[in-house]
């Protein structure tokens, strides 16, 4: 199934990447080629075959719930782009209205 330039633009929006028009022109045909190639997996008769998400087979692995040393607030905030009042400072997340 081919993928169009509009679909790539939609996927970029979903992925929160502000692609330029030039990038869309370049990426869309490449993605179409890649998707056509990987679609080969559909040739495989896999009726009744269980999916594998993970090779080890481990499930529900927990550590003991014990307090132990961790990062200080200063360490945790040390790499933040912006900090205010010992918190991560972020751009506004709601509209004006």
């Amino acid at each position: 199934m081919p993928i169009t330039r509009d679909e790539v633009a939609h996927l970029a929006r979903l992925s929160r990447i502000a692609l330029t028009d030039a990038e869309l022109d370049h990426l869309a045909p490449q993605l179409d080629q890649i998707i056509t190639a990987v679609a080969q997996v559909q040739e495989v008769a896999a009726e009744g075959i269980p999916p594998t998400s993970h090779a080890t087979g481990l499930t529900n692995v927990f550590r003991d719930d014990e307090p132990r040393p961790c990062l200080t607030p200063e360490e945790a905030l040390s790499q933040a782009p912006a900090v205010a009042q010992q918190r991560f400072k972020v751009p506004r997340i709601l509209g004006e209205e």
Partner: protein
């Protein structure tokens, strides 16, 4: 000198850790402007670590085998007080506040961390050309790629800038660069080496592992970094396979070795196939029982991988949101968080990362999930069944490590499908989570560049890799009269 020889000389105090470290820093200063294996050289902290090892040794303390032996670390591992970029502008200037488990284990073993090595951005690539900081070069021929994504680590070891290096393998990112740089590289069993503090690409595949110039050196590093880690929920709680002992034994007599017939033919360079055939003959002459084995679903491994890995990446890389760490672009008060996020990711990510995030988002989106990601997961099951059937008949499988030798810089840079083929032989073991190694088996006649022999073993039977690779290495070195790397002439002039 090999890491094993350095370890012995250090233990006998014939040489100090400070001298060894300084010698490697000098080598880096002399050649790294041409190789560009390193993104960050940690000279001061390396010398401080070395002085500490020397001090402890003087007090008569028994130190671990790698104490005082330098190691280069791929820039995907978090390192306290050192930058970690993952080859990306989005993490430019990030100094992680904690050490990865593997970083901690190296420090505890007294290994000297020389610096951080170059890589394809977020480990996505097979050439280091996707690094935001420029490619590394192959010490055999500086116009050729060193492979990837752990190309900086492989180039550093091949250029004698470090005796050992750490990388990660998701689709072949240790074995492929090891093969094209003429050194040894291992992908341990998935879950055998901790992912805690490894910037995640595809969590069900990412596996840290060692590079060395010899099989024994790789085994020493493999053993030092392996073992259960409660900080990684996918870490396997089992004893570390006896890889060092196996590398020393180097005995394949009576071993059953299966040649994977599906990993040859069209698309394989003739010089790679002839060296591989020769390697199989050598193993047979050493007493191994060689048979042919078919793994019919391996041909679907590459397409399944390019659905599974990008799907996981599209989710993992959502954490680079410009809010808590890393780059933030366009926060001028006029834009909301979502716009800042999209602008930052546009500026911070390179082309390949964007391609894979969009591909993964597509494969996971409703309406396409069953046809792409769901189907790829079923193919993964079929590949595991192929391995299970094969390992019912033989102890290890062998194939070429790569379809071709090192390619020219720029040759595949804007042709994603051509680039992806570099991992054709390595991907099956990643999908199955078992163990595999690449060991040099000679030079291709056409171009005089190294060829890697891949050995694959069942999960937690990593020691078999070292037994076979060490036997092949000994036989080849005897035949060549010297280690293969002696022939690398890229830095000769």
């Amino acid at each position: 000198m090999t890491a094993a020889e350095l370890s012995a000389a250090l233990a006998k105090s014939e040489v100090s850790a400070t001298e060894v470290t300084q010698a490697h820093l000098d080598r880096i200063a002399a050649v790294d402007d041409r190789v560009h294996a390193f993104l960050h050289i940690a000279a001061d902290s390396a010398l401080a670590q070395a002085a500490e090892v020397d001090k402890r040794r003087k007090t008569g303390e028994q130190l671990a085998p790698l104490a005082g032996v330098p190691v280069a670390v791929k820039d995907v591992f978090t390192t306290k007080n050192m930058p970690t970029t993952c080859g990306s502008h989005i993490l430019d200037g990030w100094h992680p506040p904690y050490d990865a488990t593997i970083t901690q284990r190296l420090k505890q073993a007294g290994a000297i961390i020389l610096g951080k090595t170059n890589m394809d951005e977020f480990a996505m690539g097979s050439s280091t050309e996707n690094s935001a900081f420029g490619p590394s070069r192959n010490p055999w021929d500086l116009d050729k790629v060193p492979g990837g994504s752990s190309g900086g680590s492989a180039a550093a070891v091949a250029a004698y800038e470090a005796p050992l290096a750490i990388g990660t393998d998701t689709g072949g990112s240790i074995r492929q660069p090891a093969a094209v740089c003429g050194i040894v590289g291992t992908k341990p069993t998935y879950g055998g080496s901790s992912r805690y503090g490894v910037v995640a690409f595809a969590s069900s595949l990412d596996t840290p592992g060692p590079f060395g110039r010899t099989v024994l050196d790789a085994a020493l590093l493999h053993e030092a970094i392996s073992g259960h880690d409660p900080m990684d929920s996918t870490s396997i709680d089992a004893p570390v396979p006896p890889v060092v002992a196996a590398a020393r034994e180097a005995d394949v007599s009576g071993m059953r070795i299966g040649v994977v017939t599906d990993l040859s033919g069209d698309g394989y360079q003739p010089g790679v196939l002839s060296r591989f055939a020769e390697a199989v003959e050598v193993l047979e002459s050493l007493g191994a029982k060689v048979t042919e084995v078919s793994c019919p679903h391996f041909r679907y491994a590459l397409p399944a991988y390019y659905l599974i890995a990008p799907s996981e990446a599209s989710s993992n890389l959502a954490r680079f949101d410009a809010m808590r760490y890393g780059l933030r672009v366009g926060d001028d008060g006029s834009r909301d968080a979502e716009e800042v996020m999209a602008l930052t990711r546009e500026v911070g990510f390179g082309a390949e990362v964007k391609r894979r995030i969009i591909l993964g988002t597509h494969a996971l989106s409703s309406g396409y999930y069953d046809a792409y990601y769901g189907k790829a997961q079923k193919v993964r099951t079929l590949i595991i069944r192929d391995f299970d059937a094969a390992f019912g008949q033989v102890d290890v499988l062998v194939s070429p490590a790569t379809p071709t030798t090192a390619f020219r810089l720029g040759e595949r840079a804007d042709d994603p499908m051509a680039m992806y083929l570099a991992d054709l032989c390595t991907i099956p073991s990643d999908l199955a989570g078992n163990a595999a190694i690449s060991v040099p088996c000679g030079l291709a006649a056409e171009d005089g560049l190294p060829v890697g022999l891949q050995v694959m073993a069942p999960a937690l039977a990593d020691d078999r890799l070292y037994r076979v690779a060490a036997a092949a290495e000994a036989a080849f070195t005897h035949r060549w009269g010297q280690p293969l790397l002696t022939s690398a002439k890229g830095l000769a002039s």
